[in-house]
Symmetry: C2
Subunit: 241 residues, 2 copies
């Protein structure tokens, strides 16, 4: 099994995901939010590129079943029911709902990677479950870091490194591309200190500055969830057990 990592969807060459499993990482916050929603009983998350697309697709769903969610510059899109805080994606509010979600980086990365044979979403919260899912699929894996507006995000890279470590720990013979080697080394530096990554990284600091510091705690809870959001017919739904 070969494992590669790209640090932003912009680095995905055409055809790069052919025959592969993609694991999309946007630790702060889309991966965490999506996994939290599906673990809490949301029916599906539909990734949308823009707020306009999300609004336009509402009529596709039964009235009362659908919610609009998402952010730009960390703040809830005006008129939407939900922002991009995992705290909003819990409880009765989201149960049995389909959520049309548009975020600056995470949902964009999912859409950029949809050519993969199978696509799962991973964050610290569902690290082991998602790694196991990718391993069981038996295909080569590309870890697609959402990054930040086309650039590199430390927290996504470290989470990618933890996936590499989980895959290696399984005893599968892995061939690591340069990116996978690099994130493995980054993981070793932050091993056991996930909260430090979230405090060190630029996006974590910015999010804390604008009042979403409590979200960082949720994003850093390693393996608190066992759900793996997988793409099926354009919707993210829980992988079958």
């Amino acid at each position: 099994m070969r494992v590669d990592v790209v640090f932003s969807p912009a680095a995905l060459a055409p055809g790069a995901l052919a025959g592969r499993t993609a694991l999309v990482v946007d630790v702060i916050r889309a991966s965490t939010t999506i996994a939290t929603a599906l673990a809490g009983g949301a029916r599906a998350i539909v990734p949308c590129l823009t707020p306009e697309e999300a609004r336009a697709r509402v009529p596709e769903f039964p009235p009362g079943e659908v919610l609009l969610g998402g952010e730009r510059r960390a703040v809830k899109v005006p008129g939407f029911s939900l922002g991009n805080s995992p705290r909003e994606y819990m409880g009765e509010r989201i149960r049995e709902k389909t959520i049309l979600l548009t975020t600056s980086n995470g949902t964009r990365a999912v859409l950029a990677a949809r050519e993969a044979v199978a696509l799962g979403v991973v964050g610290f919260v569902n690290l082991s479950a998602a790694s196991r899912w990718a391993l069981d699929a038996g295909r080569d894996v590309t870890i697609v870091c959402a990054g930040e507006l086309g650039g590199f995000s430390l927290e996504d890279a470290v989470c990618g490194g933890m996936v590499v470590e989980r895959l290696q720990r399984s005893g599968a013979g892995l061939v690591l591309g340069d990116g996978a080697k690099a994130v493995g080394l980054l993981f070793r530096h932050y091993d056991g200190r996930v909260s430090e990554v979230l405090a060190d990284c630029e996006w974590g600091r910015e999010l804390a500055r604008v009042g979403f510091g409590a979200d960082l705690d949720l994003c850093g809870r390693v393996d608190c969830l066992s759900v793996v959001p997988v793409l099926s017919g354009g919707r993210l739904v829980p992988a079958p057990p």
Copy 2:
């Protein structure tokens, strides 16, 4: 002084280099080849996007002064005088010559980064000189890794990490972006073991496989040159002392 790193030119957002110094890294081999040529007395290197562009521009230069150089898939472009091996860019052959150079990643990265206020080329061979040049310029720095066909290259990232370390060692107060933090951590792993990076990385292994292993030795000679190739009027020339 702020330091950022992008892992491929594809990750350069429009305007990202405004007001900044760019340091372009393509350790294997364009950075090494360009620095070797200018250290050996070549007049200038003119980065060209394609072999066609290089051929078309020959008439711009006095007859006898110009040479065509470059590679695709590591191999010399058919009909060109020179490939992309630093060993070819030494001695009488290149002295006082202007070389129209086109490579798969390095010259492409130079062209992608030309909006920077100042652009220098760095490899292991001129690490300290190029770091000092960027430091003396006093502007924020973006290290632009050439990468491999839009993707991540370990050797360029580690070289970028050595630049970060050189800048930090100078005592300048640096603000590190996520990418700069990451390459700093990668550098620490490979500190003092440059030849190991070149043996570990995918492109180094491929180059050795196709018969260019001797080039890797040249690419790994830390600080053997004091020249800094800088872009001036579309040509790379030695920075003034």
